[in-house]
Symmetry: C2
Subunit: 268 residues, 2 copies
Amino acid sequence: MTKAELVELIKRKKSFLCVGLDTDPDKLPASLKNTPDGVFEFNKAIIESTLPFAVSYKLNIAFYEAMGIEGWDILQRTVDLIPPGEALIIADAKRGDIGNTAARYGKAFFETLNCDAITVNPYMGEDSITPFLDYKGKWSIVLGLTSNKGAKDIELLKLQDGRYVFEAAMEATAKLGSSEQIMFVVGATQTEYLGRIRKVAPDHFLLIPGVGAQGGKLKDLQVLMTSEVGVLVNSSRQIIYASSGKDFAEASAIEAEKLQVQMGDMIT
Amino acid sequence: MTKAELVELIKRKKSFLCVGLDTDPDKLPASLKNTPDGVFEFNKAIIESTLPFAVSYKLNIAFYEAMGIEGWDILQRTVDLIPPGEALIIADAKRGDIGNTAARYGKAFFETLNCDAITVNPYMGEDSITPFLDYKGKWSIVLGLTSNKGAKDIELLKLQDGRYVFEAAMEATAKLGSSEQIMFVVGATQTEYLGRIRKVAPDHFLLIPGVGAQGGKLKDLQVLMTSEVGVLVNSSRQIIYASSGKDFAEASAIEAEKLQVQMGDMIT
């Protein structure tokens, strides 16, 4: 999916909502808990009910890997459920390794799984990122400043040249390709740094987790929006676990629509 | 495997060799290329021939994920091949994510796959590391200073307090647990920084890639060795692709033994 196609999709659905499929087998509604294919059936119902309101799905790979072989099967079948062009499919994998290994992760997520995007960890630098950029029409979403407590340990340390580590990571990454292929992860809880982020990445899309369960507010993100909208906001638990009853899919649609309506008002 | 057990294993085999199973389906010997289970058969032969000379096997997860579901099956069966207590099994996964997700990666690699150790990326800080430490008797091998070109982009930037980013990452990590559970990845090519590394991690085991194909020399690593040996040196391509003929397993044993003999001389 190109940047122009993503912007068109966002404007058509009046939404920049990404639904996080962090599906936990222990949290399935009772009606699905004892079915042999519960996680897949859950994903299927959530995708069907939220697709009108979402422009992206983010599959948290850890939740599937924890299930072993079965998890990879569910991952593949979940990706196959999403109609092409109707949502950007993100593998939230946060991979990062030397060149020949990064190339294998590219193959895993862009070819074998056929996702549109992968999240990437920049700690190891240039050659851990460039192999993902070899896939034209695919996206690398590189960690900038994350929403968690541990962000202070490395990302928010100050360098001798006055920059924060996260700024250095974003600047080094932005040099490797264009905003047609690179996005950044920026936590919604990090409001005091949002100005610095748009200076480093003026026209990049930002994938923003941390709204809802983690405490970030949608309205605070207006400052990050560009003429191309420029943001994807992820919500996982608030949507997919909106109800633990039989009405879980309907409840997820209601939560997704609530966010979509707020987002619609923010898109000019 | 505890630290005492690892040290005992190293002294018994007179080796600190880790064999990297970065098995590439395209690089299998002709005799295995057209067999349905070639990658597994290759791993099996390599493990059998190198086990007398190696104290650890490192499975580069990217190479298996690139094969999709089949890859996870091969990964599981490969782990099951290694006799308990005869080698430390490392999942070279370089994972790093917020707490609830890191916990899922812990489950994936320590429970589902039953590896002894996982490599971890410290960029996201404390809560991306601590969930792995909840597994007693298992190891977290956290990236310090890597051997690749991109190490200069983030890891080797200087902080305002005079430390390098990699030192800050190692110091923050070392505070989270003991050297009974935490190791660090240090590239063999980074010889000018080895002194700083032992200052930050005086009694931690170090997992050292970069010897052989990447240009690092074994003798340069003597300075990192402790009374408990304190190092695991990984070699992948030099061993597993020592021959592309029918004699690939025998050739891998010869290469592994060459390294083991050199290592035996370095262990006091």
